[in-house]
């Protein structure tokens, strides 16, 4: 995944978590289960496509992995309405100020599911903003951290000496 798309994936997960929704789990599940070459069902690509085109026209219904990850990208389209993204038994209510989810947040199978976009008069209730992934969901964070590690270069004696650039004597 190119850096620019990874930034969008991080944005989606973080924005969900800030609204008390398990974005870290959704991203971990998507990255673990989905075929990275299967761009057709990528929630990150669909989200950025909506965002870049500044339109949701002709994009739904869509068959994608972990649809919850599109929710943050849809927020800019809510205006004064409440948008509803639904798949299976799940309804995500999206307003300009936040999101809430009724039903399971993650797709059951890890397979792509069909999701639909509609609007409703019902007002979505935003949840309290948080800045932490709760400890009980540290598994997802561990998976994401393990994936992040793939971008870190293994240390060698050479890189240790050169790359960090410490002098020979750092005491005085």
């Amino acid at each position: 995944m190119p850096w620019g798309l990874a930034e969008e994936a991080g944005f989606a997960a973080e924005r969900l978590e800030a609204n008390g929704i398990c974005g870290a789990d959704a991203l971990a599940s998507y990255l673990q289960n989905a075929d990275p070459l299967d761009t057709a069902h990528s929630p990150v690509l669909l989200g950025t496509r909506l965002s870049d085109a500044n339109s949701t026209e002709n994009q739904f219904p869509a068959l994608i992995n972990e649809p919850i990850l599109i929710v943050p990208f849809l927020q800019d389209f809510a205006g004064d309405k409440t948008l509803v993204l639904s798949w299976g038994a799940t309804r995500a209510l999206i307003t300009a100020s936040g999101f809430s989810v009724e039903g399971p947040q993650l797709a059951a199978s890890g397979e792509p599911v069909t999701c639909e976009l509609s609007t409703t008069d019902k007002s979505g209730s935003g949840s309290d903003r948080t800045s932490r992934v709760p400890d009980e969901r540290s598994d997802a964070m561990r998976i994401l951290e393990d994936l992040a590690k793939k971008t870190y270069a293994p240390a060698t004696e050479e890189s240790r000496a050169k790359g960090a650039g410490a002098g020979l004597n750092d005491n005085d």
Binding site: P2, W3, G4, L5, E7, E8, F11, L45, T48, R49, S51, D52, A53, N54, D76, S131, R132, K149, T151, Y152, A153, P154, A155, T156, E158, S159, R160, K162, G163, A164, G165, A166, G167, D170, N171, D172
Partner: protein, 566 residues
């Protein structure tokens, strides 16, 4: 003149990014009124913050815990300091160290005994421990063994330490990391970002360092008392004032300037706006001239005491000392009595002085004009989230025009040659720290971080040649997601002219210490002493008031050494 007219007039005098955002110049910046340490102390003084030391439980071996409290109108913060007994062979400033002379955290409020117990289990471990949202900062420091022992032994004998030694080294302890926002469990920035006492940048971190400075003095005096008993002395005021806190900073800080373009714009823009406002002053009053002339002498004294073994920096200091001679000669003429004296002085410096001298003068001309420039301090932060979204409706033609406005400097660089792409920024698996490697000597390219905007813009430019002018960026990125990062950067910089460094950050000759110097000058650091091309020692809060002096002593009057120290 209304404020907006004044701003407009000032804007016309602003130095261009093409002039300012060059690594050689950024690597010559000096602390100023807008540096974050000075902003912090000015604000604490204006708001009548009170300070005390609720605990000082250090045992006969010199180990234990002490707390330092800063009490404001609405909030209280407590530095919790743990003093350790560190064998000499374990003392290292490098990030690979796993034990330190002292470790610290800044607690939001007043810690209970349970909090202190929890912190005692974690803070001494640093990266290997875990703190919580009640803590804002995690830090550690090592002694300057030479000076610490000299001061300890002198005080234990009832004597004062050698003032020359004190000024030569400048600190009893140096921090080897000051971790803030969200690191190792600490509170995220958004928890405190709206608190008025922390507006600007890095205020909790710098509050911690300032309180650590008090701890270093208390600790050495306590150890001297243990050793010397009744005959032990306390440090005299002059020696205390000359002691700051050292800091040892490596590459970890360098990519920050590239990764936070809107924030860097806000810092540089504030300083350049301040300079433009001062250059707009038609006539200097006698008082303003007196303040300036006095500070020129004191800054000269500061430069004379600037010791470094690093060839590159030593040459720059020599050049700065020569620049001071020229400055004194110039000021002997009547330049300050002419109209627009500061503009004339800055224009003259541009022609006659090196970068060190030019940038020293920029900092100095701001000094007499607190009333004109200090209000810029709260603008020195950025809401990065608000500029995250890419404008897909922008046309290829408009993006190209942004590139030609902002990235003209890349045309002079041959990115097909090895020397222009000799370096790779990467993150090491071992310490999760940014590092800089050699592209053609090590296998690092697969791990390359996007920290070379010049090269990336060049690649984008080549690809855009294949696209029609009216095509949208949305269409382009659909085909070329690999350019998404750099397109976002270019769009973000649209209203942030000082957000980009106009130099190649992966060139074989690029000096990371230039990036470090720029950032550290905004912190308010002095006495840059590079230990290699990518690692630097500095001093913080040297000459600054201590907490118990802040009410009486204006910190802005202490930013340079006193003349009678000569």
């Amino acid at each position: 003149m209304t404020l907006s007219e004044q701003n407009q007039r000032s804007n016309s005098h602003m130095r261009s990014p093409d002039q300012v955002m060059r690594l050689k110049r950024m690597g010559s910046f000096h602390q100023s009124r807008l540096s974050f340490m000075r902003v912090l102390l000015r604000r604490l003084r204006e708001q009548n913050w009170r300070f005390d030391r609720p605990h000082f439980d250090i045992d006969d071996a010199g180990t234990g815990v002490a707390t330092y409290r800063a009490i404001g109108l609405e909030n209280t913060y407590t530095l919790v300091a743990f003093a350790h007994d560190l064998p000499d062979e374990k003392r290292s400033d490098r990030v690979i160290a796993d034990a330190w002379d002292a470790t610290f955290t800044l607690f939001d409020g007043e810690p209970s005994q349970d909090d202190i117990k929890r912190l005692a289990d974690n803070v001494p471990l640093q990266e290997a421990g875990r703190i919580s949202e009640k803590e804002f900062v995690l830090s550690r420091a090592n002694k300057s063994v030479r000076l610490f022992n000299h001061v300890l032994d002198s005080l234990a004998e009832g004597d004062q330490p050698d003032q020359i030694e004190i000024e030569k080294i400048g600190y009893l302890m140096r921090t080897t990391a000051v971790y803030g926002s969200g690191k190792f469990g600490a509170a995220d920035r958004n928890i405190w970002a709206e608190r008025p006492e922390f507006s600007g940048s890095f205020q909790p971190e710098l509050l911690s360092v300032w309180l650590i400075r008090s701890f270093a003095i208390d600790w050495v005096e306590h150890l001297a008392q243990l050793k010397g008993g009744n005959k032990a002395a306390k440090l005299n005021a002059k020696a205390k004032r000359s002691l700051g806190i050292g800091n040892s900073t490596g590459l970890g800080m360098a990519p920050f300037l590239i990764n936070h373009p809107t924030l860097i714009h806000s810092w540089i823009n504030a300083r350049e706006t301040a300079l433009a406002r001062v250059c707009d002053v038609a006539n200097a009053t006698a008082d303003e001239k007196r303040i300036f002339l006095n500070l020129v002498k004191r800054a000269n004294l500061n430069a004379e005491g600037w010791l470094t073994d690093h060839d590159h920096q030593a040459a720059k200091v020599r050049c700065l000392l020569k620049d001071f001679e020229k400055i004194h000669d110039k000021l002997d003429s009547s330049i300050l009595d002419e109209d627009y004296p500061w503009q004339k002085l800055i224009d003259w410096a541009e022609q006659e002085l090196g970068f060190e001298g030019q940038e020293q003068l920029v900092s100095l001309v701001l000094e007499p004009y607190g009333g004109l420039v200090d209000d810029l301090a709260p603008t020195m932060s950025s809401d990065e989230a608000s500029s995250f979204r890419i404008d897909g409706g922008m046309s290829v033609a408009a993006l190209k025009s942004e590139i030609s406005d902002r990235y003209g400097w890349i045309e002079d660089i041959d990115f097909d040659g090895k020397s222009a792409i000799a370096r790779v920024w990467y993150t090491s698996e071992e310490k999760l720290e940014p590092r800089l490697g050699e592209r053609f000597e090590e296998v690092l390219e697969p791990y390359e971080q996007p920290l070379s905007p010049g090269r990336d813009v060049k690649k984008l430019e080549l690809e855009l040649e294949n696209w029609g002018q009216d095509s949208s960026i949305a269409e382009f990125l659909l085909k070329h997601p690999e350019h998404r990062h750099i397109v976002r950067r270019i769009q973000r910089l649209k209203n942030c002219p000082y957000g980009e460094i106009y130099d190649n950050t992966i060139d074989e000759k690029m000096l990371p210490i230039d990036l470090l110097r720029c950032k550290l000058s905004f912190f308010g650091a002095t006495r840059f002493d590079p230990r290699s091309d990518r690692w630097v020692r500095i001093t913080m809060y040297q000459n600054a008031p201590y907490p118990d002096e802040l009410a009486e002593l204006d910190p802005d009057e202490c930013a340079y050494p006193e003349l009678d120290n000569a």
